[in-house]
Symmetry: C3
Subunit: 420 residues, 3 copies
Amino acid sequence: MHALAADLFPFCRSITGDGVRATLARMSEEVPIEVHEVPTGTPVFDWTVPEEWNIREAWIKGPDGMEVVNFANHNLHVVGYSTAVHETMSLAELKPHLYSLPDQPELIPYRTSYYNRNWGFCLPHRQLEALGDGDYEVFIDATHGDGHLTYGELFIEGAECEEVLISCHGCHPSLANDNLAGAAVAVELARHLASEPRRLSYRFLFIPGTIGSITWLATNEEKIPNIRNGLVITCAGDAGPVSYKQTRDGNALIDRAMKLVFETSGDEFRIMEFHPYGYDERQFNSPGIKIPVGSLMRSQHGTFPEYHTSADNLDFIKPDRMVDTLEKATAAIEVLEHNARYVNLKPMGEPRLGKYGLYGGGGGQRKSDFSELALLWVLNQSDGSKDLLEIAERAGMPFRKILTAARSLEEAGLLRKEEG
Amino acid sequence: MHALAADLFPFCRSITGDGVRATLARMSEEVPIEVHEVPTGTPVFDWTVPEEWNIREAWIKGPDGMEVVNFANHNLHVVGYSTAVHETMSLAELKPHLYSLPDQPELIPYRTSYYNRNWGFCLPHRQLEALGDGDYEVFIDATHGDGHLTYGELFIEGAECEEVLISCHGCHPSLANDNLAGAAVAVELARHLASEPRRLSYRFLFIPGTIGSITWLATNEEKIPNIRNGLVITCAGDAGPVSYKQTRDGNALIDRAMKLVFETSGDEFRIMEFHPYGYDERQFNSPGIKIPVGSLMRSQHGTFPEYHTSADNLDFIKPDRMVDTLEKATAAIEVLEHNARYVNLKPMGEPRLGKYGLYGGGGGQRKSDFSELALLWVLNQSDGSKDLLEIAERAGMPFRKILTAARSLEEAGLLRKEEG
Amino acid sequence: MHALAADLFPFCRSITGDGVRATLARMSEEVPIEVHEVPTGTPVFDWTVPEEWNIREAWIKGPDGMEVVNFANHNLHVVGYSTAVHETMSLAELKPHLYSLPDQPELIPYRTSYYNRNWGFCLPHRQLEALGDGDYEVFIDATHGDGHLTYGELFIEGAECEEVLISCHGCHPSLANDNLAGAAVAVELARHLASEPRRLSYRFLFIPGTIGSITWLATNEEKIPNIRNGLVITCAGDAGPVSYKQTRDGNALIDRAMKLVFETSGDEFRIMEFHPYGYDERQFNSPGIKIPVGSLMRSQHGTFPEYHTSADNLDFIKPDRMVDTLEKATAAIEVLEHNARYVNLKPMGEPRLGKYGLYGGGGGQRKSDFSELALLWVLNQSDGSKDLLEIAERAGMPFRKILTAARSLEEAGLLRKEEG
């Protein structure tokens, strides 16, 4: 996953343009992503697909003719969606177009101006402060014009038409945790899901933030009713504890699955209530859409000092943390796949487990933590009113342990799966 | 408010009598209080309006003919509702009629004997201990007889007949926090409410404790159904943190409003569950009345050492604390006035706020605490099922911030207020 | 209670056999227990009543002809349900049949092998380690064969057919806390209940664990619907804080009663959620039976080092702790007996308690903890929707205090008990 993120890192992504296309092309080498192009001007709910932006070259030369900054060195140097410019101006005229972080003087900030036409450069504050008076030559070779909004989609069909949505924003340029790590985790998750038989269908979206989800929703309204649960995967690779932001109502299956996975993992974790700021979960959870989409991450956007700066680089994302994020997502999806109601077929007292080879043998043991405990939980709770997730929640046990118990009991003829 | 409390302090209030009349007369200079007189003997539910008590003079002279205590110096010196007496008696005969506080030997306690006819004096324990043997002359010039129970009422009519009740007990003599501070806050609240357009109607009661609320309820039963929320204001001026005692069921609008106001104030506060001891909220919340009346206070009765002693004087109540109590009450009433359900008219994804001048401009900001957050909360939650109070509770934001967001969105045509 | 436990201690109990009969015979001297015998082979749900086991003699003699262990010294020395054996064997052949506790080298463990035919001895680890090579003579004079499962039952009829079940397992040999203490508490509880008029009926079971409750349930199915609450009493005498394990759904009357008793006792306590491991509550709470049976104990099985060892002896159980367990059980049963809904007959405001002799007299007291508080709670909450238990829970007062208040108000004509 880290290698894929490294390959994607240099591309200059934005909400439109060739950087997005290059990114999707590289990801398509891993999994069969379908690339969609939506024309500029397409009305999408309250929005309109914007003009496509492409940039080829950008730099500032100082009074001495030396380059001050060059887009070729780091694509954060140019404010996203900057207009073309080629002028010579005084430092005073230039300064309103320069962005830096006084509190983090070595870092380049990330800035965009999608809907107000403007141009600008981002640079370390220390470099900004060192600029002397004189004439500066400013050059941006960028185009705005009719084109397309480009996004990737990957549909993995299951036995049922009920879908799980996995969405990653792919509009940020060279920022690793936000969100190449998320995209890399999603690609691996897709590969894993495609490799196994599955009950549910899965839809992966690799889209620009906000306008991308709005565009997809507006052009795929007929698909919305089948999507019952979803995850935005973002900031998936930093060293912070794994975190989950709940869906709008906080009681979707994905919310309960993720909570159980976190609580039974033994790892530090954080669960946050829904709030209407963040990534594309804002759009999926809007009152007219109401797809319950949670957000899986490590550190939350805006809460780590590297956020939206040149310090969010490939060193900032850790291979083992991406693996951990992937495992947590996989475990939660296992719950969605296999949760079901079972009915105890010998509900009068406990069955004699020894008859079925399900008993460890020997009474009077000294341990209160009996290994058949999952069997006993499933037998006790399976009166048809509770599903395996509820049993696992109540038992405080990993879902897999409860699922294994249910399957053992089913094989022994002690349990029957309820349909529907 | 402190000045009004100071003017009212010297009057000798009780559950009936001229002290109450003088108090209401002085308050009527501030707001147009209507004074009601209910005759002695009027049956009021399980009670009867008692005889009116008036006192003119009371003192004890010692064996040396010098005054030991004199009602003219402090009206706490006489037990409320004391009968007339003029006798000479030994110290041993006198002592059962003397009340003091051994643990607070400098303070005069507050005592009453409304329903057992008796007489008594209250004095500092140190003074009691210093009394020598000999004959004491005791004199109380007081009358019990047919008269009236006097109370004040102020009705501020709103656009709707739904009422909010504000009640203060006014039966305590020279005790400042309990409850001249409450009365002063209520007077200012009434003045404020009368000065603005309002949806709801407000009914203020200035009544003697227990018998006053029972009398009002028994003689105004037809008004009860319109009263949907209420507040007893008491002990409103001491330096303790602001406190709220919930209504009987704890889920009235006033309970939620007060909780939100407290929680979003940044101030220390305390919320107590309902319990059937306290002031007139006991009567309003009785099972046959069921008006949800909470109680707004600072320190709770009986929990501060100055309670029901001469130390509950004008120094004990703080002008800034009375202002704070008033502001909290006003903020809670703002919730009652303006709470409503709104419907998002562009519910598919988020509307593009920039189109309506509602967006700060510029993506990629570094702050997670976005200033448009209230707009986003209102948009996200306004599916017609949630009102502004629920949204503010969930967002953890002051009601006014959510209300302002709703009004901005309504002006932009993005939100519609639901009727009823 | 300790004396009864001491008398019962030496008998070699198991899930069947003469030790159980001797135990029940001794208990029958205290209360009129009815002894039931269920024949071997009787099908009981998924189980079958096992062969009866009786043991007369058992020992191991070492290479020097000296006794290594002898059942006559401690009945824990023989694994429960050991088959007969008389052989001479090397230490290596013997060792798989010897059980000890390496971490508690001075104690004899308790072991059984009910459903796998085998034989074995239990002994202190220190003794096991000291055994030298050579030939050991092993002798167990025990029989397995058709016989009976023996249990005791005591039914105390009340005015209503609704029953409370009290169950104790009686299948453990010389283990005092597990469960002679529980049996002794149950016997005293039965004696107490039989001595007073009662509304409810009580059914006490003294049964072997698991197979006993399954046998009783399978052979008494028609009695199940009348049983609405129950308690397993176990580990009732150790020095640990009193503990309660909830019923399957955790919301039965017995759960709420026990919680109130604990919370208002001022004693340290522990309440555990239901889990499907433990004693016979597992069977009673199974999904086909659904009798809400909680478990009253002090330390939980498996959590104290003396558990299932020879250290669980008569010194380990404390007379005062058994009394405390009994008192808690009695108090909870008082709730079951007397909980009822009452209706306030003077619900408009508070009645004037003084008229009925229910008021302490004198207003203006300085204490916030008013002694008539229970009266006020009952009056305030008795609108017909809440029962005394709910009122006591809300008031945080002992049930008896609320019950006393209700009865006083009923006598005064202020309250009426609701039927049904």
